[in-house]
Symmetry: C2
Subunit: 202 residues, 2 copies
């Protein structure tokens, strides 16, 4: 009887553990397949208040810097904020970023026109947008929630973010991305619309 | 005895099937974990010449439309080109898109300022950039290669793409993304640079 229990115990653990890893989301590198993550990413605005560690933020920033840039100029910088007071100051001054009060961290993606191909702000904005999208996807992949709240192109908001975070005048704070653990209320939208597709010509 | 076999059969299938799905890799939607895809994505400029089917392109376009947009305006449209003559015409007129001759297809991501939040072109460009990044990642996830070749902000190139593909004047062709099967020579770059990261303040 004992042998049989051990036998089934082993069988059960062998199969149960990877199953648990799949259904529990993030588990040491196993982070869901890429297309699922792309489709499951959602704008998370409701956070539990749990903090987000620097190691996790570093993984998000690494993902950001893996984005393509025009002529490989990498015209970007990232401010990762975990300081509670700073997060609350940002929340106070930004109309659509009140969820920062409950977020564990924030990443501000900055576009650097001076480093961009032909010093064009357009390339800095586009390249930094791709980096931001990578960060949003990496957050989803790691079981976190995030949302793009715009600073650019609103002059007042950019000035406020620059002032609060000591950002130089020639740097464009593109967005403020609150990051944290989702309460689960935010769900992905199905935005597929075949009318947006043209085959071969407009 | 029969009842017991059925019982264990059910337990076994319940746990074995998801395990099999995990370890079998790409299998009808199983396409590699998201962080690996983000880091393995590379600008692929060397293609085998194999065609790319509409079903595959549809999967890329679905990924594109899963990107976030300011106030959910979805200010975008997509032209998916598989016609050989059209691909060659685009290659002929675009200085950095000669690889279209060997690509199996191309996607042109178009930004629609009129549909964007507050009708701002900036939002249309940013939202379409995020969609483009999703397309590049989905291509990598599905074993394809792709590369962003810019149309915007170069007036001449935008005009040429508009003319070739019959795109209305108020629509911005953001890029031309050649898509195909990679010969394998293009490799991802490690662009991680800790100097780009600021903690809490600039």
């Amino acid at each position: 009887m004992k042998t049989r229990m051990v036998f089934w115990g082993v069988i059960f653990m062998t199969f149960f553990m990877p199953v648990w890893a799949v259904f529990s989301g993030e588990k040491d590198g196993k982070v869901g397949d890429a297309l699922s993550v792309i489709h499951n990413r959602k704008s998370v605005r409701s956070f539990t208040g749990e903090p987000v560690g620097r190691e996790t933020l570093d993984r998000l920033l690494r993902a950001g810097m893996a984005a393509p840039t025009a002529v490989n100029r990498q015209p970007w910088a990232f401010i990762a904020v975990t300081n509670r007071k700073t997060l609350d100051s940002l929340a106070a001054g930004l109309p659509y970023a009140k969820m920062l009060h409950k977020a564990g961290a924030a990443i501000i993606v900055c576009a650097l026109p001076d480093k961009a191909y032909e010093k064009k702000a357009e390339f800095a904005i586009i390249d930094s947008s791709c980096a931001s999208q990578n960060i949003l996807l990496a957050a989803e992949a790691l079981g976190l929630g995030a949302v793009w709240t715009a600073a650019y192109p609103e002059k007042e908001r950019m000035d406020f973010v620059r002032k609060t975070l000591n950002i130089p005048q020639d740097v464009i704070p593109l967005n403020v991305i609150p990051i944290g653990y989702s309460t689960g209320v935010d769900k992905p939208k199905d935005k597929y619309n075949p009318d947006n597709i043209h085959w071969d010509k407009w």
